[in-house]
């Protein structure tokens, strides 16, 4: 098990390297940070000095090597736009995004899995038909539209929930949490639903189709023939067998929830990393963008590792060293 984890981490290193190369290369050629930082009025001497300060006069690979060298030490340089260390900026924004993503993932799993089980078991009930139609809407409406609709209904018309921001936060060490205040929790509801809705419908449809597949198998038929109660058949035998694909998708979805919180954060002006990224794109703030992409890549790599470990926990056929079939 330990050697498995080590080998997966070693495999992840080239992935991270390539991601950093691509992101760095991409941003080195989009936009001109110097022009944006200098504004309208500047002399050629000021410009040359700034280019030298930022190290932009050096060849591309020297810039990249410096970037990697610093990145390995957790040092991503100064933000061009805010003149503050990038690592500090990201650490400051990360709690907002992570809390939002966790809530969205929690909603999509806690609602999506039961809905998937229900629609898989009672395929022809009117509630199943309703849920499937609803899920079609969830899949096909773009996230920003859902967010705006929710704001319109719950903030503008009903006035129940705030339309932007994070509410009051409580600081615990460097972590700022919105979980502990009423306004923080209220502010969390709409963005979390917006972000989780697409994943919710995907998970529901996945669980439903897996459930229907598993219910047709011989071992479910045999479980029925042994007279096991439905509860044991559905929630024990059937559900556990649907878990492997569900874990895979749910894991990747969690990654994309964190990565694609950008749209939701923009709609709700959520002070997270996504909003930071969008603002940095506008200012061609290369260090922030590169660091953000590296971090997202790291998140995906970590989630994949956890997903692989969960496979082993769920499916005994994958556990090596115990097979004794004769």
């Amino acid at each position: 098990m330990f050697s498995f984890i080590v080998s997966r981490i070693l495999q992840a290193l080239p992935v991270m390297f390539v991601v950093s190369l691509i992101s760095f290369a991409m941003f080195a050629y989009v936009g001109d940070p110097v022009a944006i930082m200098l504004g309208q009025d500047f002399t050629e001497a000021q410009r040359a000095a700034l280019v030298r300060d930022l190290g932009l006069d050096e060849p591309f690979f020297v810039q990249f090597a410096k970037f990697i060298g610093n990145a390995v030490q957790g040092e991503f340089g100064l933000s061009y736009r805010l003149s503050r260390p990038v690592a500090e900026l990201i650490a400051e924004r990360a709690p907002a995004t992570l809390e939002l993503a966790l809530c969205a993932a929690f909603i999509s799993l806690c609602v999506g899995v039961p809905m998937g089980i229900y629609t898989g078991l009672f395929r022809h009930s009117w509630l199943s038909r309703f849920l499937l139609t609803f899920s079609l809407i969830g899949v096909s409406l773009p996230t920003f539209l859902i967010g705006i609709l929710l704001i319109l209904v719950f903030s503008v018309w009903l006035g129940w929930l705030p339309s932007f921001g994070r509410g009051d936060v409580v600081r615990i060490g460097w972590w700022s949490s919105g979980f502990l205040t009423v306004s923080g929790l209220k502010a969390l509801i709409l963005p979390a639903i917006t972000l989780g809705l697409l994943q919710l419908t995907l998970i529901m449809r996945l669980v439903r189709s897996e459930m229907m597949e598993v219910l047709r198998t011989d071992y479910i038929k045999f479980a029925r023939a042994r007279g096991l109660p439905n509860r044991a058949i559905y929630f024990g035998h059937a559900l556990k067998n649907t878990l492997v694909p569900v874990i895979t998708i749910a894991g990747l979805q969690l990654g994309s929830i964190i990565a694609f919180a950008i749209v939701t954060e923009t709609v709700f002006q959520w002070p997270g990393m996504g909003l930071l990224f969008i603002q940095s794109v506008g200012a061609a703030d290369i260090p922030v963008m590169a660091a953000y992409l590296m971090m997202i890549a790291a998140v995906f790599v970590t989630i994949n590792l956890v997903v692989d470990l969960l496979y082993y926990a769920v499916d005994p056929r994958l556990r090596v060293g115990r097979g004794r079939g004769h």
């Binding site: 071992y219 045999f222 023939a225 096991l228 499916d315």
Partner: protein, 323 residues
């Protein structure tokens, strides 16, 4: 009194192009401790009969008419929950493919304990001891160590032994065994059948043994029912049926078994194929392939008639028939 009575059972499948009759007027009985072999070609309705008895017909299949009685009680119209308590406890089932009938994610011990505690008033510890006992009975070596193994850690033959233990562990009075050895190596088949037969005899369990292996039937069954196109074409004691089949179809079926004690130039074969359910001919379903067909067979469908030591659904044995 019979343990199981099946009376005029009719199973239908409503489809878009009309209703298919999968089983028609099937009647038979099984006495306590008796082994009834059910033979026939694929699609003759053997497995369907078993599924109808345990109340697990695949939808949209349904029992359209007729009755299934267990010890005199009707069980074909019971609500799901009552029938569930009968399955496993009073009627056990063994399926064809041991590689797919065990849940791959649970240890065999867990599956056994779960089944035992569902039906018998025992705690988990006692159930586990019982489970080990059953594994020993079905011939799993080192049962105590292997009870916590997963299905994929066993070979096909061993897995079918586990399946048999699962079917028997709540001590049902009847076992419906649907081609229990078809998926196994030939060398293993005989072992598993012998074990099943011995266990059924020791426990006094009756068995409905569905197979298309006449050798297994001849060796194991007390009586045998031959099915053709959703009906029973002949039923009787196994000795009589193997040696002196009355129905032309059973005669053809028995003629296709190579005898070991004498040389034959050619085995008998039955020309043609069994009709599809959507195209069963008028009159006797076997009439297009029957060598002894006559006028009445083309218009009227025969009931099971006394044909000496067996009962056959063939007009040859009607009073004033062709004979």
């Amino acid at each position: 009194m019979s343990l199981l009575q099946v009376k005029n059972l009719r199973v239908e499948f409503p489809t878009r192009r009309g209703t298919l009759v999968a089983l028609d007027d099937v009647s038979f009985e099984i006495a306590p401790g008796e082994v009834l072999g059910v033979v026939g070609e694929s699609g003759a309705g053997k497995s369907m009969t078993g599924a109808a008895i345990i109340g697990l017909l695949e939808p949209p299949g349904r029992i359209a008419s007729g009755q299934v009685l267990l010890e005199g009680r009707r069980i074909d119209n019971l609500p799901y929950e009552k029938m569930r308590r009968i399955r496993g406890r009073e009627i056990g089932a063994i399926f064809q493919d041991p590689l797919t009938t065990l849940n791959p994610l649970y240890t065999i011990g867990r599956q056994l304990v779960e089944t035992i505690t569902t039906h018998l008033p025992v705690g988990p510890g006692e159930a586990r001891e019982k489970a080990i006992g059953w594994l020993e009975l079905v011939g799993i070596p080192a049962a105590r160590e292997r009870i916590d193994s997963y299905p994929h850690e066993f070979s096909g033959g061993m897995r079918q032994r586990v399946v048999i233990a699962l079917a028997l562990c709540a001590e049902p009075k009847l076992i419906v065994a649907d081609e229990p050895t078809t998926a196994l190596d030939v060398s293993i088949q005989a072992q598993v059948i012998a074990m099943l037969k011995t266990l059924a005899r020791e426990k006094g369990t009756a068995m409905m043994l569905v197979t298309h292996d006449m050798g297994v039937i001849a060796e194991t069954a007390d009586r045998v029912a031959v099915m053709y196109a959703g009906r029973i074409s002949e039923i009787g004691p196994v000795r009589e049926l193997v040696r002196h089949a009355r129905h032309p179809y059973s005669q053809g079926l028995m003629g296709s078994i190579p005898p070991l004690d004498r040389r034959v130039e050619r085995l008998t074969q039955i020309d043609g194929a069994m009709p599809r359910l959507s195209a069963i001919p008028r009159g006797c379903a076997f009439n297009p392939r029957c060598p002894k067909v006559f006028d009445r067979c083309l218009v009227e469908r025969p009931e099971l008639l006394d044909a000496g030591t067996t009962r056959a659904s063939c007009w040859l044995y009607a009073e004033g028939g062709a004979a």
